[in-house]
Subunit: 396 residues, 2 copies
């Protein structure tokens, strides 16, 4: 099969972006990606748009984005995988190039959550759980689901609130360095511990915000990539899995099976042992929709053994210079989590890290192996997407 390379990346400022509409927001990222790749729209043969929908009254986001960004009449579709919709967009563009259907494809992720037609954000987010059964019957909200993960982890492995605080403090530290981040200020443990409870033990500072944003990435076949860049970042492998809709089917609340399975699929294709994964990657982006999710991700990805992910937080092992730097762009928690954009944003951050193009030197990791990993979860474990990137050309 063909190798697929990233040849351009773009990222809008994340935040409360009511200054623009959906397509203007997308254009900020698309324009940057085209400029970075030094190509124009006519060379894009296909584009996918990650957008969760329901947060906008616009029912054809791929079409309005395509028209505004000058991508019409190229083929397109909108994809949705809940909070992993951005990774689904990346996958769709990846498959289009890898299959040989096209040579150049763009994945666009965009969400404008501040213009929701439904002001009840708790209900909106609740729909990404088990809506008809658990939300409507039991009022189980999205923070409620992750509070179940947190309390289960506390009971089994002795997690403390302060351990979650360490994740939040790290997120805000790197967010303060990232010009694209929604939140750009440091927080202290004292501020964290005093922050308003949402669903015990989760507080405001444990929770990713309601954010507007867009990210874009241009993928190309090896032949095309060779023509336009001498620094491609390759997609080595991708794993994708799904989880059950209902909590009643979950056997364990200290792991997200879909993410673990997606990681194992990606590792297998890339020839990586999960025990060694932390030695392989120079940097990783994981889905910290809530702080507890980052600790669980450490274990689901093999960065730590079961029950020991919390130690990475306690020992600051996921800062730059630690065992493995994670979410050094601020993560969902501080960079923000515009649903459809997040998965593409992860790929943008990682590609830039691998090329020493982090937007701020303070957030640039040391690149040794030239490899990076993105971990993106949809819903409360309904979707798992794991993608591995490398500066070294994969051998097919």
């Amino acid at each position: 099969m063909r190798n697929v390379a990233i040849i351009g990346t773009g990222h809008s400022k994340f935040g409360a972006r009511t200054d623009v509409n959906l397509q203007e927001l997308a254009w900020e990222a698309v324009k940057q990606a085209l400029e970075e790749a030094n190509i124009d729209q006519k060379e894009i043969q296909y584009f996918s748009v990650g957008n969760a929908g329901m947060w906008s009254s616009e029912n054809l986001p791929a079409i309005v984005v395509g028209e505004y960004c000058g991508l019409t009449t190229k083929g397109t579709m909108r994809v949705e995988a809940a909070c992993a919709s951005g990774s689904a967009a990346l996958r769709e563009a990846y498959l289009a190039v890898k299959s040989g259907e096209v040579d150049v494809a763009m994945a666009i992720g965009v969400e404008q959550m501040h213009q929701s037609p439904n002001p009840n954000v708790v209900e909106m987010i609740g729909r990404a759980g088990s809506y008809f059964w658990e939300f409507e019957n039991f009022g189980l909200t999205f923070p409620g689901y992750y509070a179940l993960y947190a309390t289960a982890y506390m009971a089994k492995y002795g997690l403390k609130e302060e351990d979650l605080g360490k994740i939040a403090i790290k997120a805000h530290h790197y967010g303060s360095l990232n010009p694209y981040a929604h939140f750009q200020k440091e927080i202290s443990m004292e501020e964290y511990m005093k922050s308003k409870p949402v669903a015990w033990p989760l507080k405001i500072y444990d929770s990713s915000p309601i954010t507007d944003g867009a990210a874009a990435i241009i993928l190309a076949s090896e032949d095309f990539a060779r023509k336009v860049t001498d620094s491609p970042v390759w997609i080595v492998s991708q794993g994708v899995s799904s989880g059950f809709a209902n909590l009643s089917r979950k056997s364990d609340f200290t792991t997200i099976e879909a993410a673990r399975e997606a990681a194992d699929m990606a590792y297998k294709k890339a020839g990586i042992n999960r025990e060694d994964s932390w030695k392989v990657f120079d940097v990783a982006e994981v889905h910290d929709c809530f702080t507890i999710a980052e600790i669980i991700a450490y274990e689901d990805l093999g960065f730590a053994r079961r029950g020991e992910g919390v130690n990475l937080a306690r020992e600051n092992q996921t800062y730059i210079g630690g065992r493995i730097p994670v979410n050094v762009d601020g993560g969902l928690k501080a960079k923000g989590h515009p649903i459809g954009a997040t998965g593409v944003s992860m790929a943008v951050s990682l590609a830039r890290q691998l090329l020493y193009r982090a937007p701020n030197k303070g957030m640039q990791v040391e690149v040794k192996n030239g490899m990076a990993l993105a971990h993106n979860v949809g819903g409360t474990g309904h979707y798992g997407y794991v993608t591995i990137f490398s500066t070294r050309r994969p051998s097919q």
Copy 2:
């Protein structure tokens, strides 16, 4: 690149299916496809779900469908291309197999339009046009858009209401033979001419209905297909294109550019001249959301020259035995148009036709070349998807 074969097809009864929920409806099609392929769920490595969304309060249709159908923990995503969402699902599964990411994938299309959380169907359908500008400001409804096509065609080529009636009568004729169709009764020209106006010249009998339904198709690599079937139907090529969101950007209302461009892409890959296309295909499915759309499709696909599509209707040339049989399953008009299911339903009908497995002998075409075409339009020309099928193995 790898050849991709259809190894199983499934189709639910279309209609007002308030007797089941979304996942139960999907299962009717998934079960049939698994039985036809004679494999079980564990052999499906990936599945895509075409669902337009907004017609259900369920925000994670791919997850609830996957769980109910026993497809969890396989990788998945939901795809949307307005009324071509089913073709987008087929494309996603096609790319997954063609790229070598998986050997067996299922495309599921499902929509349950009778359980919409928004009772205002006119507004709902209006959202598949240019919602914020043309619908909200000018009240342009979906039938209104297609009435513009009809009046433009009338003015330019002398189309009469009776010509549209011929399309409706054909649709209801074949619908009456199709056990899966929403409408199973013949209509007369007199009934057609007397039917209630919707947006002149379009009447109730020119319009596809609000329908619930599901369809499923199993795709496999050549190696896997050889193991499980001696009668694969191959996907020869696919063309996808997009159109502008706003009418103001359209130059011509007697053609749908995105569909025409998608057809030219598919023809080029398959080595077919558009002038000869009507000689190549034994049967075609086209997107007759309104009768006028079928006449325009004849021309966009090259079955007739510009302005002469109406003659195929007048001369009954698209009945079985005519120049080229079109929509001999009843089409969107009589079979029904459950948005996310339609594109998959087209592929199911065509694969069965090519294998002499039409559900009713009266709707079975004579198979000469073993080739068929599906034409699926999203929105009012926003998406164009054209797929070519053959019983002969494509040479790569």
